[in-house]
Amino acid sequence: MDRLKELFHNPRFRNALSWIALFGILLSLVVGTFQTTKKVEYIWRWEQIPRYILFKDSREIIVEDDATVTAIDRKGNEAVIVVQDYLDTEQYYTVPNNLITLKTGDKLESGQVLAKWDQWKAGLLLKGLILTLKISIISIFLGILIGLFTGLARLSNSPAPKWLAIGYIELIRGTPLLVQIYIFYFFVGQVFRLSSFWAGALALSVFAGAYVAEIIRAGIQSIHKGQMEAARSLGMSYYLSMRFIILPQAFKRILPPLAGQFISLIKDSSLVGVIALVELTRAGREIGTSTFNYFEVFFTVAALYLILTFTLSMLVQFLERRFAVSD
């Protein structure tokens, strides 16, 4: 009994026990999920998923009428074959350059296959992923810009910029993002004739900007005021001091909360599906409604979001390590 007690107090034994527990929990999660799906009699069809990411599209070019090749015009990867039919009217066929076996003067028959090749095309999920990525990058970029200006305005001593900033931040933080997206789509989009993509991108940017502004404000305020005094005492203007002394230090400190905000933003971009933008989540829903493969589709969608957010996390960790040299 004493030996057992002693063993249990051994830190290495406890560590090993903890690892075993971790693997046990993970294993039971996987097995549990598998068993649950068995209960609902769901037939897994994972093999259907890859084609929603990338699929092979077969293309054929067929000659319409009997004709003679009069010219082959090669341009980069493509070539235009000019043919003349029995009525002396010209027709054009565009085929990949490397598939051409014809030469000028060759006779073609109606129904003859001029060229046949396979082409890789992006499936709906990949298209959705690209749209999500595009709208997220634009909103992150604009969000930083809006947040920076609003954050600085919020710290201003003069009432106009300060209260405008406070009003904007409170307005955005106090209303649901979904409602903001609708307002940007139906109202702002109508007034300024925005495409639904830009209405969605701007709604997300304005939303992110308010949160980024508060993060940046907190970051600037966390820098000791002696830093600003030292910079100003060297004759540097407010702008120079902010640009070279305060903001670089603040940026280093706010990287973790900023990263959290942007990870949130990537996930929140799933809401722009409501304004007819087929981003990742909406793409998943559309595939689901037509194939009823909801389980596989949304597991895949989740995994794709995870790839985006995890990459961003890694990028920020890399930046944090870079900035840590002066510590």
């Binding site: 000791h224 002696g226 005492s233 060297l234 004759g235 230090q249």
Partner: protein, 243 residues
């Protein structure tokens, strides 16, 4: 060089504090002046008013003939001519020592980087730590940091140097190295205005000493007079406490 005329300053935080009351003083070119006094006597406030880190309520301050209190004055241009050294060093932690000394030269004086870095190295040589050029402030001792801060201020080739309790945050064994740099500057003819508790420095290096209490200049004169034959009772009791 520095001309302070009837300056008033009151802080209103929680309760009213009269930091400066009718303060007037002059500092000539090349003169070394020390401001002494108990804590809360307004000496740091006075020093900070000299480069407009603190605004004044009433009165005028002229630096080299330029009115600081005039809103038309380009305050950045005046500040570039005044070096300031702080109690807490205030080095820029995200830059190397060399970067700290070089930044204002390139951004304010618009000097080419190579020339500015040359000047920075000479100044590091002068304060005795050229080997620390590539280090970050967090890797230096307090005394070394303060010497870098002095070099950073000198890099702007200022006409005046202000020292705000430069040795108060230092371990005793590091005070000497900072005072040595200050003494060298004084000997070279720099106009210096220093708030300090180092009475040895005040006595041996200074041309004149100003004693402040409760926002007022109580007494000023040569170090010999202030330290050996002070007129005012308040000065006597203060010196009796610290000497």
């Amino acid at each position: 060089m520095i001309d302070v005329k009837n300056v008033y300053k009151t802080f209103y935080s929680r309760h009213k504090v009269e930091a400066l009351v009718d303060v007037s003083m002059e500092v000539d070119k090349g003169e070394v002046v020390t401001i002494i006094g108990p804590s809360g006597s307004g000496k740091s406030t006075l020093l900070r008013c000299l480069n407009h880190l603190e605004t004044t309520d009433k009165g005028e301050i002229f630096i080299d003939g330029i009115p600081l209190t005039d809103s038309k004055t380009n305050i950045n241009a005046v500040r570039a001519e005044i070096g300031m050294v702080f109690q807490s060093f205030n080095l820029f932690p995200h830059m190397t020592v060399l970067g700290n000394i070089t930044i204002a030269q390139t951004k304010v004086r618009k000097k080419p980087r190579e020339e500015a870095e040359g000047i920075s190295m000479e100044l590091l040589e002068k304060v005795g730590i050229p080997e620390k050029a590539g280090s970050f402030p967090s890797q230096l001792s307090g005394g070394q940091q303060q010497r870098v801060a002095i070099a950073r201020a000198l890099a702007m080739q200022p006409k005046i140097m202000l020292f705000d309790e430069p040795t108060s945050a230092l371990d005793p064994e590091m005070i000497g190295e900072v005072l040595d740099v200050m003494k060298t500057l004084a000997r070279e003819g720099m106009t210096i205005c220093a708030v300090t508790h180092e009475m040895g420095f005040a006595r041996t290096v200074c041309d004149s000493v100003v004693f402040m209490d409760e926002g007022r200049i109580v007494e000023k004169g040569t170090p010999e007079k202030i330290f050996d034959q002070p007129d005012n009772e308040r000065t006597k009791s203060f010196l009796a406490q610290i000497l």
